[in-house]
Amino acid sequence: MRYFITTRKFVFLLIGMVISVSCENELDLPEAGSRADTMPPEANFSATRDVNNFDIYTFSNLSTSATTYAWDYGDGNTATTIDGQNQYAAEGVYTITLTASDALGVTSTFSSDIEVIEPEEPDAIIPVILEASFEDNSLPDGTGDGRDSWRNSDLGGVIQINTSSSVPDGGQAAKFPSDGSRIAYQEIELTPNTDYRITYSYRLEGSGGEATVAILPGGGYTDLTVAKDAAIAEFTGSAEDYTLTTLDFNSGVSSTVSILIYNANVEARVDNFTAAVQ
């Protein structure tokens, strides 16, 4: 009798267990002792454009708590590597999706857009020197007295104009009296860290004098000594016939430079400025 009861209980228990197992399969209840996935994966990545190839991107996988990865590079290419890399065949906006999964099959996805675009190499600015030949009415709006763009009363008096048919360009040139009291000054816009060449012609009206053209970094000069000391390039000459002169300089960090012209001892004439990228 005793034996019989025990067996019955055993069988009962067995059935109970079977049912319980099948219930678990159907309802996905956690087993005794099992734990929820407390560290689910979290997908994340960053994208870096290749320095030399605009169409190649590398992707750094920054996901946590994941073991397998699926990359969708947005152009049809895919990968299952940890980190990613892709070359894009065409310009455009692409959505990159990383799916990170852990060993329990829990997944997390993260998407981010990149814009693949060939960077334009902007052409260096060719500086515009206003009233470059000191002619009347040569400003863009057809006005001007040939020296309006060259004034800076903090640094010195405004230049005079020499009118003659024998100046290097047009009918007028800048004139600097022998006392050295007058200067010409103009700020011009250009591209930083670019090599430029400025040319001009000058002459002195006798011996023992000199004429200087200096390039100053930036603008806003109000003190002649400060301005002269700041020169990044300059040429001082004593020629007594019109002489074509070249001044090469690098614009450095600034997007503005100033041209400063001054003379000493003898009357000077200056004419026909040009500016170009070297």
């Binding site: 320095v51 750094s60 940890i82 860290n193 450095g252």
Partner: protein, 477 residues
């Protein structure tokens, strides 16, 4: 709770030990030292000296206590050996984790470096909190403290990413400040402010062992380059250093390292040979079995090839065949016991107590950063001001062929061979956006397991544990 208290106590012990007055030089006799609050300007100078001591670190062969900070002396483990420039000789142990990109959060060098940088910061904070005590030399003291704090944060943010921002002396109870990671962008803003202030307050110095205006300007330029913004400001700062004419390239590359008071070095960590308190052991560790290791910071095949192809005169003073093991190659820049064949005199009678300084910033780095600032993230430049700086560095190496353009790739190579084994490589790779590509190739060629998350070190597990869940770990660890 009990465990938590015990751990807190341990941290207290660590920080007290590192603040001990063992490393003070010169040791003040009549002032309060140790953990007494500074009460006058002389005290403040002493604390400032200990800011430098924190970066200098302890020679672990001379002072063998555990848990001391080794500062600059172990930086090469967490930077150069994590790059494609160097490795351990044996590939074993915690040091070997850097070779194979398998660094664990429990790695002792990582924790040591982290601790060391915060030790610099903690001491600098103490100076700055009490700067009003300075009545005669306040600007200089403040400038030096700000420079050192900024340098430590720059090291931390580059190696760990977001890190806790401690900007004042805090109490041990202030758990939130100690363990809350602050976004890198905020850390960078803090660094920039400190360096701008330091540059305005500091002048020139007679020794590169102390912070100067040029040091602050140069590091600030590097911070801007690292942020990949403000290229124009970086260029202006570098041009100020160049225009000051205070520094110039040494004519002989070897003298940069073996004639320490030279005019090229802008900021160095000073060491004194045969001094138990101020000597260093990294020189010994880089030899074959002279230090505690069998040899670390050995040169990789990739770095050998780069130096041979692009190094010019620099190759022979950068690396040499290990005489004791001819299949291996050692770093030449820090030899403690000299090398007669290279005309290098010993720097110390005992190699384990070496005096070779560690160079943080030198003039050729300034010139190459100048090129980088002009390149401004672009692929190539022909601008004559960039070419001039680039040519100057190459001319010294005997590479006098005329440079007509500089590409980003050429600049990265030039930095590798000019500044080899000076702990720049990993940061350069990251700054140039080349780290993942270069280190993936390096890793594959050598059977290592690099992935992009190795570009940041793990936060030390010790700190993570103490933080009670506040301090989150970097991805990949």
């Amino acid at each position: 709770m009990k465990t938590y208290k015990i751990l807190i106590m341990l941290l207290v012990v660590v920080s007290f030990t590192s603040c001990g007055d063992d490393f003070l030089e010169p040791v003040p006799t009549a002032v309060s030292v140790g953990d007494t609050f500074p009460t006058n300007e002389t005290d403040l100078e002493s604390v400032l000296t200990r800011v430098y001591d924190a970066l200098q670190g302890v020679n672990s062969l001379e002072i063998t206590d555990n848990n001391l900070n080794h500062g600059q002396q172990i930086e090469f483990y967490v930077t150069e050996m994590l790059s494609d420039n160097t490795r351990t000789k044996s590939g074993e142990g915690e040091a070997g984790q850097f070779d194979s990109f398998t660094v664990q959060p429990t790695n002792g060098f990582v924790f040591d470096y982290y601790r060391s940088m915060y030790s610099v910061i903690t001491r600098a904070n103490l100076v700055l909190e009490n700067i009003d005590l300075a009545v005669t030399d306040g600007d200089r003291i403040e400038g030096e403290a700000r420079f050192m704090r900024a340098l430590a944060y720059f090291n931390l943010v580059r190696s760990f990413g977001d890190v806790p921002l401690i900007d004042r002396p805090i109490l041990i109870e202030d758990v939130e400040t100690q363990f809350t990671r602050v976004p890198s962008s905020e850390i960078y803003s803090f660094i920039v402010a400190d360096l701008q202030s330091a540059a305005s307050k500091l002048g020139s110095t007679t020794t590169a062992n102390r912070a100067s205006k040029a040091a602050a300007q140069g590091i600030l330029a590097k911070v801007y380059l690292t942020q990949r913004s403000n290229y124009g400001e970086a260029q202006s700062l570098l041009e100020e250093i160049i225009a000051s004419q205070e520094y110039a390239l040494e004519s002989d590359f070897r003298d940069v390292f073996y004639n320490e008071a030279n005019g090229e070095n802008i900021f160095t960590v000073g060491y004194v040979a045969s001094s138990s308190l101020d000597s260093q052991n990294f020189s010994a560790e880089m030899l074959n079995g002279v230090g505690r290791t069998s040899g670390v910071n050995y040169v990789t095949d990739e770095a050998i090839a780069a130096l041979d192809e692009f190094g010019g005169d620099r190759a022979q003073y950068s690396k040499r065949v290990d005489a004791g093991q001819p299949t291996q190659t050692q770093v030449v820049k820090y030899l403690p016991n000299g090398d007669a064949s290279l005309g290098i005199e010993p720097t110390s009678s005992d190699p384990t107590s070496a005096g070779n300084d560690w160079i943080i910033l030198r003039y050729s780095d300034v010139l190459l950063m100048h090129v980088e600032a002009i390149l401004a993230g672009g692929a190539v430049t022909q601008s004559s001001n960039a070419l001039e700086s680039f040519q100057e560095v190459r001319n010294r190496a005997g590479l006098t062929d005329i440079v007509e353009e500089v590409t980003s790739e050429q600049l990265l190579i030039e930095r590798r061979v000019e500044l080899a084994f000076e702990n720049h490589r990993i940061h350069d790779l990251k700054r140039f956006g080349a780290a993942q590509q270069v280190l993936t190739d390096f890793s594959n060629a050598n059977g290592h397991s690099f992935s992009a998350t190795d570009l940041l070190l793990p936060l030390p597990q010790f700190e993570v544990n103490l933080s009670n869940g506040l301090l989150t770990q970097n991805p990949g660890y």
